[in-house]
Amino acid sequence: MTVAAPLVPTPRPVLRERGQREVFCGLTGIVWLHRKMPDAFFLVVGSRTCAHLLQSAAGVMIFAEPRFATAIMEEKDLAGLADMNDELDAVVTRLLDRRPGIRTLFLVGSCPSEVIKLDLPRAAQRLQAQRSGIRILSYSGSGIETTFTEGEDACLAALARSAPGTPAGTDAALIPELLVVGALPDIVEDQFERLFADMGLPVRFFPGRSSTDLPAIGPNTRFLLAQPFLGETAGVFEDRGAVRISAPFPFGAEGTTAWLEAAADAFAIDPLTFRRAIAPGRERAKRALERHREQLAGKRIFFMPDSQLELPLARFLATECGAELVEVGTPYLHARHLAPELALLGDDVVISEGQDVERQLDRVRAARPDLTVCGLGLANPLEAEGLSTKWAIELVFTPIHGFEQAGDLAELFARPLRRRDMLRI
């Protein structure tokens, strides 16, 4: 094994802060989830602010008849709850009649809908009873419950709860099955599928490209998380008897190797077969990384919290690109899922969870890192102060997992530094 994954989390000090958090809410997850599941529609029940946020986050996508929308609550809706449910039913009816291709409807809770305690799970049940052939689910993407990528977690958890179980007592229930969990770009999913096939290991993905054809989840399920932010989803899988395969996340040549190897080990794949299957991809990834290593080696990098991808990405930059980590912030640190990552990070790396944005910016200014990974609200202001930045959202929208994307991933961090060196204005 190239990268060792310890079984117990290493206890280490984590800087925990509370205060103003400069982060997105979970509604933002809709922007990439609706593309992953072309037969699903996401209806946010919220305020004008929610619609405005989605519009700002989705950018130009909003003009392409996207499969998401907001049911904007108005003054009259707030007058009485009975009205609100009728109104919601009317909106859903109109929507489903207009979009007959929709197979799954997600009712997505927001801060306002949760503060007034609008019961969306019950609304989903009620609407489900009126509509056969369409699955109606609900989850919360509100800022009070979820931070950015946690919206995907909440969505996939709702989907996992509705997935079929393996029929007990049958032979099928006894044969272990591998599931990769987390929405990945189609191209990345295909690459992983080929790698597993080369090892002779059949795999299914959750969510797949269809919201209706869901894999069964049961005690025979072995699942491998493709994303670090899937705490609740993993919980639902485990409640249904599925067993998680602990691994670092598949970023970079080494991260991807370790991730694949954890699965291969769990399914007792012959090590020779494993190495033969991954060797070409791993070599290509290493070659692609070479070009960026020079740019990134020794560079001091500061991660502000955004997506929970920070720890695995920082590990990739440190171990495979030779970068130095000043502080790695994450909105939430799932110690168990990230144990293999934490083990690979040097003990001297400051890890912070949560945020008090002003105090964290003070630390950024004091440290003057070579590169600060942060949100779009902070990036230009920091650039104006003479600090190079990499805006974090791109790391969620761009294919970055796996061998073939390792070079692109390094490039995302190297480019702002190269640009800083190029400009003479």
Partner: protein, 511 residues
């Protein structure tokens, strides 16, 4: 409950942010859940500001809702004061905090901060962005320029420019243009607000002899308040040649100066450009106009009287100021479309079949989908409409800019048409694609982009010969030609459209 994908306006607290961000020395403490900080990126990315908006959010989460959200607000306000030492603080709630009813104004009052604190009541479930901006600006002016204060002497001839704000469509450059006109007339600018003004500047507003309200959506409420305190207000928005001239005359009259130095300024090239023979083909071009009320109404007059277009549709998304749009619509024999539902606007555009659309970012995309040339005249706009170059809409240079930016897409459309006409030539085959319509031009050359005729009775079969002839008509008027011909055929009881029918209809409807 209203189903929405795209909204023309954000919530009212975004309007308040636009005022706070425009000003100096102001800090806004906003009681809001985690996630509402998304609005920061409108300013840092779309307007490309190099500093964070002066807003502190409480960013409460579910675990805070037990009862200490009020304490959270007080802590945030206290810390924001200590860190930023603003001259003035404004406090308020976003939509979610409005529901938990913590009373930011009262809470901030108990802190006894050593600066004025203005509480804002912005009803998120009934009002929108522009209203929020207007109300915030008005509250600031009211608090810092109390009614009944003794009037200053106002000996200098000076004016305030009211309304420009952060995230305003071309506000930066409009201010420069209007300032230039005032300079030509020998009038001093006392204060521009809220853009660039500090609270102490706001206190100096009463020193000016009169006010100029450039953007009624944001400045009118404050202007009316100051009017009651004895400051007259110029309300003509100098957008287009005639309006700019009228503006100059009104300003000169109020100030008691000679308007001549600003009228017919040599830099005003637009009237000659429009009269030059190259512009003849613009005559009667059908244009659909949509945007905020101020820009839509002004654009309609420019289009009709200064470019010789035929306005075939007009509307705005902000009901509060719709009166101007209704007036100009009546002048032009149209009915105004007042809606904030972009699908309704799209339907109206498709039905009107214009040759040019003037609108917001949304209409730009609608027009692109329909294969119609388009120019942007109003917020909401995207990053490309916060240009690096000087690009006003108002005043002398503004008129020049309007001419260039509206005519350019038509010239491009004409180029497109030439390509289509020559599509059978080896150089210009279908696969060569379009130059600016993102592939839609190529589509237009192979199939008509226009929807089928709307009424069943108008449907008539076309002979192959007539159909082939129809395809020779420029794609951007082809839909109208098809519709007119079919209507003509139906009214004459013809079952099929033949080549002759096409030309008979053309003669009948003759443009």
């Amino acid at each position: 409950m209203r189903l929405a994908v795209w909204t023309y306006e954000g919530p009212p607290h975004v309007g308040a942010m636009r005022v706070a961000t425009a000003m100096r020395g102001v800090h806004y403490v906003l009681h809001a859940p985690q996630g509402d900080t998304y609005a920061d990126l409108l300013f840092t990315m779309i307007e490309r500001r190099g500093e964070r908006p002066p807003v502190t959010y409480t960013t409460f989460q579910a675990r805070d809702l037990g009862g200490d959200t009020a304490e959270l607000f007080k802590t945030a306000a206290r810390q924001a004061y200590e860190r930023f030492q603003p001259e003035l603080m404004i406090v308020g709630a976003s939509c979610t905090a409005e529901l938990i009813q913590d009373d930011p104004g009262g809470l901030a009052g108990t802190l006894g901060l050593p600066c004025p604190v203005i509480p804002l009541e912005l009803p998120s479930y009934s009002r929108k962005e522009h209203w929020g901006a207007s109300e915030t600006f008005y509250q600031i002016v009211r608090a810092l320029c109390p009614a009944g204060a003794p009037r200053p002497a106002r000996e200098r001839i000076s004016a305030n420019i009211l309304g420009p704000a952060a995230l305003g469509f071309r506000h930066r450059d409009d201010v420069r243009e209007v300032t230039r006109i005032l300079e030509l007339l020998g009038i001093e600018v006392n204060v521009v607000a809220p853009l660039g003004a500090s609270p102490s500047d706001i206190r100096r507003l009463p020193d000016a002899r009169f006010n100029i309200c450039l953007y009624p959506e944001i400045g009118d409420e404050a202007a009316r308040y100051l009017e009651k305190q004895g400051q007259p207000c110029i309300r003509t928005v100098p957008l287009g040649v005639a309006a700019t001239r009228r503006f100059i005359e009104e300003v000169a009259a109020v100030a008691g100066v000679d308007p001549a130095p600003a009228l017919n300024h040599p830099d005003l090239r637009m009237p000659w450009w429009s009269r030059s023979v190259d512009s003849t083909y613009l005559t009667g071009k059908r244009v659909f106009i949509f945007g905020d009320a101020t820009h839509a109404a002004a654009a309609a007059r420019v289009a009709a009287h200064e470019l010789g277009f035929k306005v075939c549709g007009i509307g705005c998304f902000n009901r509060e100021f719709a009166r101007d749009v209704r007036t100009v619509a009546a002048e032009l024999g149209l009915e105004a479309l007042i809606t904030d539902d972009h699908l309704e606007v799209e339907e109206a555009i498709a039905a009107a079949q214009p040759e040019l659309v003037l609108g917001t970012q949304m209409e730009r995309h609608t027009a692109k989908r329909l294969g119609i040339p388009c120019a942007v005249i109003s917020a909401p706009v995207h990053v490309q409409d916060f240009p690096a170059r000087h690009s006003p809409q108002m005043g002398i240079e503004g008129a020049n800019v309007l001419f260039d930016s509206w005519v350019h897409p038509l010239v491009m459309g004409l180029e497109e048409h030439l390509l289509t006409m020559f599509r059978d030539d080896p150089e210009f085959h279908d696969g060569a694609g379009a130059s600016h319509l993102g592939g839609h031009g190529a589509t237009a050359s192979t199939q008509d982009p226009e929807p089928a005729a709307p009424s069943a009775e108008a449907v008539a079969g076309w002979t192959a010969e007539a159909e082939a002839e129809l395809r020779k008509i420029p794609f951007f008027v082809r839909g109208k030609a098809r519709r007119n011909t079919e209507a003509f055929a139906a009214s004459h009881g013809l079952a099929t459209v033949e080549l002759a029918t096409l030309y008979e209809a053309k003669a009948h409807y003759g443009r």
